[in-house]
């Protein structure tokens, strides 16, 4: 429904009562990898948050913007070529969205975002 951020290839996705989940691959030419860093490409944390925001829009059924980050933790370096598993819950009545991003079964990034309408 909403355009996937550049640099990710969507492998599969589904929406259920709990939220939106997807498997995606980090493309080798992801624009956020350019200069981050030379010879040691690492997907920046904000690109992971941007992916979670996309998932939040999918889960909510409407475009959302982030007005606050109560808490997000980055637990594992994410590199090009990795296949990510994203799960984003539907926003609660206050607009809070919880998400988890995993790579090879390991938690890469998780937390909560406060969202609102654009």
């Amino acid at each position: 429904m909403f355009a996937l951020p550049d640099g990710f290839a969507l492998l599969e996705a589904s929406l259920d009562d709990g939220g939106w989940q997807a498997r995606l691959r980090v493309e080798d030419d992801h624009p956020a990898l350019d200069g981050h860093f030379q010879g040691n490409p690492i997907l920046p944390g904000i690109a992971q948050v941007g992916l979670a925001v996309h998932g939040a829009s999918q889960a909510a059924g409407s475009a959302v913007v982030v007005t606050a980050i109560p808490s997000v933790r980055f637990r594992k370096v994410v590199r090009p070529g990795e296949v990510l598993e994203l799960r984003v819950e539907r926003p609660d009545p206050g607009g809070t969205v919880r998400f988890e991003l995993r790579s090879a079964g390991a938690l890469a990034c998780s937390g909560s975002l406060t969202t609102g309408s654009p």
Binding site: D34, V66, V72, F74, R75
Partner: protein, 141 residues
């Protein structure tokens, strides 16, 4: 306290459109103020704007520059501080404009090596775009 800082390229490993810090303006013990910009072609840019949570990366790069300036051997290898957490961040303005100057400040508020905590703020023309706390993990050299 003004500071004659080295070029940004000598302080942080970010290059090209990944580098948001344009100039270090002021350094004090445990604190740094810098000028930042969202460059053309930024990964999260759309219609000349980026979501304001990109300010977290501005602050993270400011924290990295502070780490580099505080290292005992100014000619030694750059310390690498990975962003590992963001807490209590607020973005009163939802979007930021590409190419415009934003002031980013970080202040170290706690340390439990290899973790370090910073309070941050990003503002432009007296308007606050972001406040919050971030934590970094200092990788072994």
């Amino acid at each position: 306290v003004s500071h004659e800082a080295p070029p940004v390229e000598a302080l942080i490993p970010h290059r090209g459109r990944a580098r948001l810090v344009a100039e270090v303006l002021e350094v004090r013990p445990g604190a740094l103020l810098c000028l930042t910009r969202i460059p053309a072609g930024h990964a999260l840019a759309a219609k000349g704007r980026v979501p304001s949570f990109v300010s977290v990366e501005m602050a993270a790069q400011a924290a990295a520059a502070l780490l580099a300036l505080e290292r005992p051997d100014s000619k030694g290898p750059l310390p690498i501080g990975y962003l590992v957490g963001v807490r209590d961040a607020r973005f009163p303005v939802p979007e930021m404009e590409m190419g415009e100057p934003y002031l980013a400040s970080v202040t170290a508020t706690g340390e439990a090596p290899p973790l370090r905590l910073y309070a941050f703020e990003v503002a432009r023309d007296g308007v606050t775009y972001a406040t919050g706390t971030l934590s970094t993990f200092l990788a072994a050299p």
